[in-house]
């Protein structure tokens, strides 16, 4: 880690000194302790993934997107189902409205989960292809939100199972 950070700092300080060289050019030329005027190559600074790492993450992103396609199909079917439900039960009683609103909230949650799953896949892929830990971090942020949604649904499912069998 220290090598990576040191290289990045060196790169930044070199860039600053290069910018300053425009003003203090004549003085810098005479200074034997002045830093070199050419910056090191960008590849030296930061994270570099191996071919195997790139292949694993690329494949992971594909499967995540594949799962999101299933979720989109489910959302479409759910949307059609909610239209059918509204047409069948109508909005006469309070219970039917509650059922319909619950159905729509469920769909909205599924849409959010799907969007974050796709964002996580894109973040991981872009982060690995560009060797950038910031983009990778953005992928993890989206994955965290997806896992929070599935976690809350998992807890509710467990409570429902307990209630159904033991309640």
């Amino acid at each position: 880690m220290s090598l990576v950070v040191d290289t990045a700092q060196r790169s930044r300080s070199t860039q600053l000194s290069v910018r300053g060289a425009g003003i203090l050019g004549p003085l810098m030329e005479q200074n034997p302790f002045a830093p070199p005027t050419s910056a090191p190559p960008a590849a030296e600074a930061g994270l570099v993934f191996s071919a195997e790492g790139v292949e694993v993450v690329s494949s992971l992103a594909k499967w995540m997107r594949g799962l999101s396609v299933f979720f989109y199909i489910l959302i479409g079917l759910g949307g059609l189902g909610s239209c059918g439900l509204a047409a069948t039960i109508g909005f006469d009683s309070g219970m039917s409205v509650v059922v319909l609103v619950g159905f729509l909230v469920g769909l909205a949650v599924l849409i959010a989960a799907t969007i974050y799953l796709r964002e996580a896949a894109s973040g991981f892929e872009r982060g690995v292809y560009s060797d950038d830990e910031m983009t990778l971090g953005a992928g993890f942020r989206s994955l965290r939100i997806y896992l929070i949604i599935t976690g809350v649904l998992g807890i509710l499912s467990m409570v429902a199972t307990l209630y159904k069998h033991l309640g």
Binding site: W63, F70, T161, H165
Partner: protein, 124 residues
């Protein structure tokens, strides 16, 4: 990826640790629900439904163990004491890939069975 630390920011590390914790919660709740349902089936019914539930619980256990392993590896990435960030990240990504891949394959199989069942019912 070589065995080395990755210069994640403190905020990114917190995010990764939080994602790992939620991954553990998802896998633990799924495992608990699967095992509980199997126990209920075992005590109340016999025959095909029990076998079906056993297969379902077995698949749930395998898939969620992958998520559990991915979460533990990601937790190591976020940890300050562990120095093999890149190795742990690769393990985490591999296990996550297995988790999502199994979900997609199982969904495909379930849809296949659904279509087959529908055709068997509709076509005499």
């Amino acid at each position: 990826m070589s065995s080395a630390r990755i210069p994640f920011t403190a905020e990114d590390k917190r995010t990764i640790a939080s994602a790992a914790t939620w991954g553990l919660i998802v896998s633990a709740t799924s495992l608990a629900t699967g095992i509980l349902t199997l126990l209920v089936e075992l005590t109340s019914r016999t025959g095909e439904s029990v076998v079906g539930q056993m297969v379902q619980t077995g698949l749930t256990v395998v898939i969620n163990i992958w998520l559990l392993q991915a979460s533990l590896a990601l937790r190591n990435v976020a940890s300050d004491t562990n120095t093999n960030d890149q190795g742990n990240l690769l393990i985490g990504f591999r296990k996550l890939r297995a988790y999502f891949m199994a979900q997609v394959i199982l969904l495909l199989i379930a849809i296949g069975f659904g279509v087959l069942g529908f055709l068997l019912v509709k076509i005499p």
